[in-house]
Amino acid sequence: MISTFFGLDALSSSAAMLTAFVIGLAFGFSLEQAGFGSSRRLAGIFYFRDMTVLKVMFTAVIVAMLGLQYASELGLIKEEHLFFMPSIYGAQIVGGLIFGVGFVMGAWCPGTAAVGLASGRLDALVFLAGAGIGSIFFNEFFGLLKGLYAWGDRGVRFAWQDLGLSASGFGFLMVAVALLMFWGSEYLEKRRAAGGTYWRSPFLRSFSVVMILLALGLMAMDGRVAGERPAGGAASTSAMLAEIESAKDHMEPEELADRLMRREPGLMVIDIRSAEEYAGFHIRGAVPMSMADLPELLAGRENQGIIVLYSNGMTHPAQARDALFRMGFTNVYILTDGLVGFLDRILKPASLRTDLLSEEQTARINSWRSYFLGADKTPAAPAEPEKPLAVSQPVPPAWPGLVEPAWLAENLGSADIRVIEVRAQAQYNGGHIPGSVCVSHDNFRGVVAGISSMLQPSELLAGHMSLMGIKPADQVVLVYDDKPHDATLVAMAFARLGHGRFGILNGGFPRWAQEKRPVTTELPQAQKSQYPVPAPDTFTVTYKQIMENLKAPNHVILDVRPTEYYTGEKVDEARGGHIPGAKNRPYTDDLVKYGKVTMLKPTEELAKAYASLVPSKQTTVVIHCRTGHQASQTFFVMRYLLGYERVLWYDAGWTEWAARSELPVEK
């Protein structure tokens, strides 16, 4: 099995750079040998004069395609080691058309122009300069082009999948089309007396035969294997997705418990957590295996008996299960809700359960407990996280978003990095990130039009930024202590100002301290700046706007207060309950704690949770809480981490809604 630089996440290592350079040498050499150091020859294809471009390009495409398919068929390489570009149809159609015009005008493309320059062609140098200018042009107008850039994004899509064919079947078609074009080109060139050297030549005949045989061989392999393993073709992928959709790949804890107690032969339960966690507690009868070892240790168990994977949650087992499915395992299941679910549904004592239990149910629970716990003792349950918190990596942030402590530590000295600690003054005085300033989130709030705790208007916010010496181009990192929503509230101030690059430190100050990153008691130096005042933001909504859209389609209201406030059980305002039709997603559901460190949950997990609440990324979502504080965290998650496009913030929140008796309330 081959591990690629991409697969090892090492594309930015110096070894990868050197490899890329060497591959570039071969790339440039073959282009020049083909005659692509000449613009005249390249342009020939557009006048049906010289079809070399077509011959070289399509030969390369089918050779690499066959090679890739053989490599994956023989198990040399796995999909996760390859980078697949997404299909973004709008951008690729418009880009392709413009590119084609540029190609025929300049008679170069980027790669061949480099070779042309190496061959001394001055028109290649001019083309390259133009391409640089075109790139800069794109960057300058990126704000306007963003929509087009992402227009028609369908993720990774394969043509064979879209056409309902197998990869090898479509590959055969590609080879056939390419060969037809080759023969056609030779005939054309011969007719025009400009070449056609290979028309009916023994060379082209044997080349064509070899290519067809290779393509057929692949189809035969696919056919032979199809009976034994379902991987590879379109049908198997859709079969897998169908099973996932219908949750057929899940096993409920109760079913697993009963099967284990029956000591069913052929049942294999695998714990894929760390060895320490396994040693701490595991389901009786489970064997420990690390995810990386699964393919090797399970070899030969394809479709024999039943394999159940579990971890604390479901993400890792689901990934492992998908990987195994691709290898031909159709007998792998994941435990619904993971070990956490097992503890709750199987091992929780009957006395602690909230549902009314029949005697039979109580007896069943007791028998499970006695089997899996031996004695009546509670397991050393791993409270929440699957793994201990890993040390952060210096991944550059995608602004606005999360900032990794390791990245901040590496870039701390830069003039345009500004750190703002949204922590208590006393804590800040005791030690803070070098160069950081300290503010309270309440500094940015005040009474606006009679409503308290509103985010201040932009002219006041700009004044705060000017005093702190922050400039619009700065990269601003907001640091919280144990409440991410303190930082996200300040992030709302930056959002209102239209600031481009701001983010919150992932894990806040406690994680910074835990990773033993630099801390100081010195105060920073800041020079006053002149922060410009922008137009009012477009994401803050009023109760009137909410009322107007209360019954609008594709419109979701998210109430992020604790559930007892949403239901009206607890009331701290004029009235209790919630806005009619609002859904409840407490902001605390997005958090996870590792000891002292409070973090937002992993993005994939959040994405799943919100996908079930909000139909699409284009749905309008109004987020509110009581004062706008907690809602700022959900806003940050949905808008910046998950990419929902229309997220609105009802800052006045339940304080205002409850006080205005004319507004409807639901309980």
Binding site: L11, S12, A16, F21, G24, L25, F27, G28, S30, L31, Q33, A34, G35, G37, F46, T52, V56, F58, T59, A60, V63, A64, G67, L82, F84, M85, I88, A91, Q92, V94, G95, G96, I98, F99, G100, V101, G102, F103, V104, G106, A107, C109, P110, G111, T112, V115, A118, G120, R121, L122, V126, A131, I133, G134, I136, F138, D162, Y198, D416, A473
Partner: protein
């Protein structure tokens, strides 16, 4: 050596053979790097680097180039681009095709040809950012993976090229 210099350029390689070598290079790129070939990214990053030499804070804060960080050149496709130039140089030298000239039809002026080369470059540079790749990254590498969007891009490149070919034909008139 003297004898060789007096000889003209060597003939081009059999295009199918050159295509096989190019295809194997692409395959090697996939199996070793895990990603395909690319050229326009290298140009764009060099452009970002040059622009940031002139207006550093502007580039740093711009949304597209800014995402590449302070050292846009520190990227594998930039190295690959230099490799392409190097490989082309070696091959052109060995095949005695190194010649300083502006390639054009005999009846076309140098100025006309260079204006078209510049304009074509601007369009191609812009379009390859929009489509996230050029003939190398999308049309060649993506098509070999049978990616839908890359095949669509490939078809559109030829559609655009053939549509515009008639209008710029004079640069090749002899």
């Amino acid at each position: 050596m003297i004898m060789k210099e007096s000889m003209g350029p060597k003939p081009y390689m059999n295009p199918y053979l050159a295509g096989v070598i190019l295809g194997l290079t692409l395959l090697a790129s996939y199996l070793i790097l895990g990603a395909g070939l690319g050229a326009s990214s290298g140009i764009a990053r060099i452009a970002a680097y040059l622009e940031s030499g002139l207006v550093p804070s502007h580039v740093g804060s711009s949304e597209y180039f800014g995402a590449w960080g302070k050292e846009p050149l520190n990227y594998y496709l930039v190295y690959m681009f230099f490799g392409v130039f190097g490989g082309g140089l070696v091959s052109a030298f060995l095949s005695r095709r190194l010649q300083f000239q502006v390639e054009r039809g005999r009846k076309a002026s140098i100025k006309f040809r260079l204006v078209l080369a510049l304009a074509g470059g601007v369009l191609a540079g812009f379009a390859s950012r929009l489509a996230q790749g050029c003939t190398s990254g999308q049309a060649l590498s993506g098509s070999a993976m049978l990616l839908s969007g890359s095949l669509v891009f490939l078809i559109c490149v030829f559609a655009g090229g053939y549509a515009a070919a008639w209008f710029v034909r004079r640069q090749w008139h002899d």
